[in-house]
Amino acid sequence: MDEHPAIAGHVVTAKEAGLVSCTHCARVWPIGTTTCVRCGARLVSRDVKSMSRVWAWWVVGLLCYIPANVFPMLETTFLARTSGDTIVGGAIVLMMHGAIPVGLVILLASVVIPIAKFLAVAYLALSVQYRLPSDQLRRMKLYELVEFIGRWSMIDVFVVAVLTALVQLSVVVSIQPGSAAVAFALAVVFTMLAARSFDSRMIWDSLDPPAEAEPDDSRKDFLT
């Protein structure tokens, strides 16, 4: 482990070194060990089913994201007149009312970040499956970014929750969460699950010589 992989140009993976690490407690065991002696977690050198799970969560997240944008996020009842605003519509209304930073934040958190997450996860998954010869380190950082930022996508849901709790003035004005709020929350959750399902160790396997049959399996899984 003296050489830095980026410097060396070739990184020796744990698998190549005959080792397997515990994903929970990071203790390294010789390959073939099935259970982490320290924490009891199951040890797998490469989770061959992970790609299938990623894509499953990804699809569900995408499914949820569609109604989240079509249905209204907020239902504002102002003097007995109810109007619903979708995410984008609400952001545009805010910006038209002069609250451009707030609108931009909502747009960023509710539209740009989720979509970017979808794209990033899909890219990572595809790059792993097709062993694209791109910079593993950068992909690793992208994955970590996705993992980190995913939870902030919930900001819109938080806004809705806060507004719903605060603005309950009976007849005059009241705000109810729309059906899109649930869908949006689900979409965020599912994308996070997709990101978590991704076995980032496989990023490094693209450097492996294509002797193994595992990528084929992975592809088969994906296609299934």
Binding site: S52, V59, L63, A80, S83, K220, D221
Partner: protein, 791 residues
């Protein structure tokens, strides 16, 4: 290595849920119906709801215009579960906030925006997708139990939208939106009576306007009546069913709204129907209809069958053939007054029957015309009368907008124009002049009465009476003193002599001659009577003349006569007149002597051949009478001439004549007033004295011989008269000629004033001559012996 992650169930489930939801949504989605509105009035796509009984059963999906932009079409997505009920009977209207006297409705729409209210009955009738939206809330929902009627009013009072229908003050229904009828005469409004109360409504029910305040003052005091506060503000109608026996009311029946409760009740008894009791008729008049007002009666044989409800002008070259303005009068006929179809209760049948009747009547010569409704008023009414030999006309049954009943032009300017003329004539009468004349006359009369002459008349009259009294006393004295018995003896002697004379006359066939003479005279009389047949006409003419004379102002004449009377009284009061009796006494004495003389004379005559002479004289008289008879034959012509003359005279200007006569009278008065006239009695007395002396002389002298001579002279005179009489026809002819000339002259009188004057002078002369002749005749009448004496 077929290892598929269990996680894939999640997207599959999610997909299944999504698809299921989509399917469910699609399944639950109802049809879209289209509702046409005049205007959107607050309808917003995707927000405005369709509600049924205040429950949302749909939402407006889209809003667009009809092809011609005349309407707005709201596309409403219905809920699936109400779909079958939305059939063609459904109605839709937009609920908007409404504030009225009866309350506030639709307040929630102020904040939430309008919504579309739909109403349909509970019977599924299949989906209908095209609807016409109502402008307003309907009177009653389609599913509401009750009776729908039409209210018709001439004024529209009380008929306002949403106004309550009251029964004994309780609200039992509502009036819908009032709509002006196509002809603009009546106002109709739909009305709805709620279910349990519509049992109270029968064909005998009467509606009246309950709006406003009724205020009555009677012997029982004053009363103010307000049905309800709401009806005071927004109108309202009440109804009542006083008379039993009416038929149940069907939907859509028409009831008239009477102005007040009294009218409504009255209508029950005078036969007016509450439902559709009237029909409209039009008439076209080319004449001036001034005085014909709305409400003017329409009379059929004196019975009012309707009234005028509208008058308007119309220019219709197609119908009338020119561009002139015709006046179209619209009438409302009360059908029950005619009762052409007593069997039916259906207004349409009744109307048709009446139209049939009118058509028949027009073909029989019935026409409408204008007539005076009063003797003095200018108001007109319309009469339907049968006019004989009237020109052809047609009852235009399908006239626009009403059947047109033909009319004829009538003479309506009858009485008032005549009265006007009469009044004008009266006002033209010279009443002021008349009054002035009367005033002057009265002044003159007063002056006359006040004049000393008139006032002295009584005294004069008294003097005259005293004089007469004195005269009578004198006469009595004379009679008392005179030797009357002797006189009577002498008279009897004379009579004896006379009888002897008559006997002698009888012997000498004098009687036969006398008879002849009398016959001749009777012939002459017959002639005269024939001639006299023309007299009545003459009298008529004279009457005319007399009328003219009567019309002449006689005041001046009166004055003159008054003066004349004064003079006459002066004359009577003169000494000479008073001394007249004495003279008379003396005269009587002379007469006595003369009679004695006559006795002797007659005795002489008896002996002498005087009788012979008398006989021959009578024969002469006979001839003369015959001649006169001949002469009388010319009289009718003479009378005709005289009549013509009288006619001319009648045509003359009498005022001037009267003035002439006045002048004549003045002259006469002046004459009487002269000293000579006053001395006339004295002259008369002297003349009588001379008569007395003459008689005395007569008594003294050889009178018998003289009488003989006188008789001979008389015979000669009679002969002369007979000769002259034989010339009378010629004289008459001549007179005729003169009269003709006079006639010609009179005809020319009108032309020249000078001639007129001359003719008048001539007439004066003629009249004076006639007077002379008359006095001569009178003298002869009184004193035939003047012929003998020559005086």
């Amino acid at each position: 290595m077929q290892r598929v992650s269990i996680v894939w169930i999640v997207p599959l489930v999610a997909l299944a849920i999504a698809v299921g939801m989509a399917w469910q949504t699609y399944q639950d989605r109802g049809s879209v119906i289209e509702i046409r509105f005049e205007q959107a009035s607050g309808i917003t796509p995707e927000q405005t709801q369709l509600r049924y009984r205040e429950v949302s059963v749909g939402v407006v999906e889209d809003l667009d215009f009809s092809d011609d932009l005349s309407h707005v079409i709201a596309h409403v997505r219905l809920d699936k579960d109400v779909e079958p009920f939305v059939d063609s009977e459904s109605v839709f209207w937009v609920v908007q906030p409404e504030v009225s006297a009866r309350g506030v409705t639709g307040l929630q729409t102020v904040l939430s925006g309008v919504y579309i209210e739909g109403s349909w009955d509970a019977v599924p009738g299949g989906l209908h997708t095209q609807f016409e939206g109502l402008q307003e809330r309907p009177v009653a929902r389609p599913d509401q139990e009750g009776t729908r009627i039409m209210l018709s009013s001439g004024s529209g009072k009380g008929l306002s939208e949403g106004a309550p229908i009251l029964f004994k003050g309780l609200e039992v229904g509502r009036v819908g939106r009032p709509v002006l009828s196509a002809d603009g005469i009546t106002i109709n409004a739909e009305a709805f009576i709620n279910a349990p109360h519509d049992q109270l409504l029968t064909s005998q029910s009467r509606f009246w306007d309950a709006s406003g305040v009724s205020f009555n003052i009677g012997t029982g005091g004053a009363s103010v009546d307000i049905e309800s506060l709401a009806s005071l503000i927004s109108g309202g109608v009440s109804f009542e069913t006083v008379v039993s026996g009416g038929n149940p009311v069907r939907d859509g029946e028409v009831f008239a709204v009477f102005p007040n409760v009294d009218d409504a009740r009255q209508s029950l008894f005078d036969g007016r129907k509450a439902n559709g009791g009237t029909m409209e008729l039009a008439m076209v008049f080319e004449e001036n209809v001034t005085g014909l007002n709305v409400g003017a009666p329409v009379m059929l044989r004196g019975l009012q069958i309707g009234e005028v409800v509208g008058i308007s002008g119309r220019v219709d070259p197609e119908q009338f053939g020119d561009d002139l303005v015709r006046l179209v009068v619209v009438l409302q006929i009360e059908m029950r007054k005619i009762d052409a179809a007593p069997d039916t209760d259906n207004p349409e049948d009744e109307r048709e029957a009446i139209l049939d009747m009118f058509e028949q009547a027009v073909s029989e010569g019935w026409r409408a015309r204008l007539a005076r409704s009063g003797l003095l008023t200018a108001a007109l009414r319309i009469e339907m009368v049968q006019i004989p030999e009237v020109g052809p006309a047609e009852f235009q049954r399908d006239g626009d907008p009403y059947p047109i009943f033909p009319s004829v032009t009538a003479e309506v300017e009858g009485v008032d124009v005549a009265a006007e003329g009469l009044l004008k004539r009266v006002s033209d009468l010279p009443i002021e002049d008349l009054l002035n004349s009367a005033k002057v006359f009265l002044d003159n009369a007063a002056a006359l009465v006040a004049s000393e002459d008139i006032q002295s008349i009584p005294a004069d009259v008294r003097g005259t009476v005293e004089s007469i009294q004195g005269a009578v006393e004198d006469v009595r004295e004379v009679i008392g003193t005179a030797d009357l018995p002797a006189l009577s003896g002498k008279v009897s002697g004379i009579a004896d002599e006379f009888s002897q004379l008559l006997e002698h006359v009888a012997d000498q066939e004098a009687v036969a001659k006398l008879v002849e003479a009398i016959e001749a005279a009777s012939e002459a009389a017959v002639e005269i009577s024939t001639a006299a047949s023309g007299v009545p006409e003459l009298v008529d003419q004279i009457e005319e003349v007399a009328e003219k004379v009567a019309s002449v102002d006689l005041q001046g004449l009166m004055d003159q006569v008054g003066g004349l009377a004064t003079n006459a009284s002066d004359f009577l009061s003169s000494e000479a007149t008073k001394s007249l009796p004495e003279v008379l006494t003396k005269s009587l004495a002379s007469v006595e002597g003369a009679v004695a003389e006559a006795t002797t004379l007659l005795s002489g005559m008896n002996s002498s051949g005087a009788v012979d002479s008398l006989t021959s004289a009578l024969a002469k008289v006979d001839t003369a009478a015959g001649d006169i008879g001949d002469a009388v034959e010319g009289l009718p012509a003479l009378i005709d001439e005289a009549r013509q003359v009288t006619e001319k005279a009648a045509a003359l200007d009498f005022e001037t004549l009267v003035s002439e006569i006045t002048g004549l009278v003045e002259s006469a008065e002046a004459m009487i007033g002269t000293q000579a006239a006053r001395e006339l009695p004295q002259s008369l007395k002297m003349a009588l004295d001379q008569v007395g002396q003459a008689l005395a002389e007569l008594r003294d002298g050889g009178t018998v011989a003289a009488v003989n001579a006188a008789l001979a002279s008389a015979e000669r005179a009679a002969t002369s008269v007979a000769d002259a009489s034989s010339e009378l026809p010629a004289l008459v002819q001549r007179t005729e000629a003169v009269l003709r000339e006079a006639e010609l002259a009179l005809a020319g009188l009108a032309d020249t004033g000078a001639l007129n004057r001359e003719a008048r002078a001539t007439l004066r002369e003629v009249s004076r001559a006639a007077d002379s002749v008359r006095s001569l005749a009178r003298t002869l009448e009184r004193k035939p012996n003047a012929l003998l004496t020559g005086k």
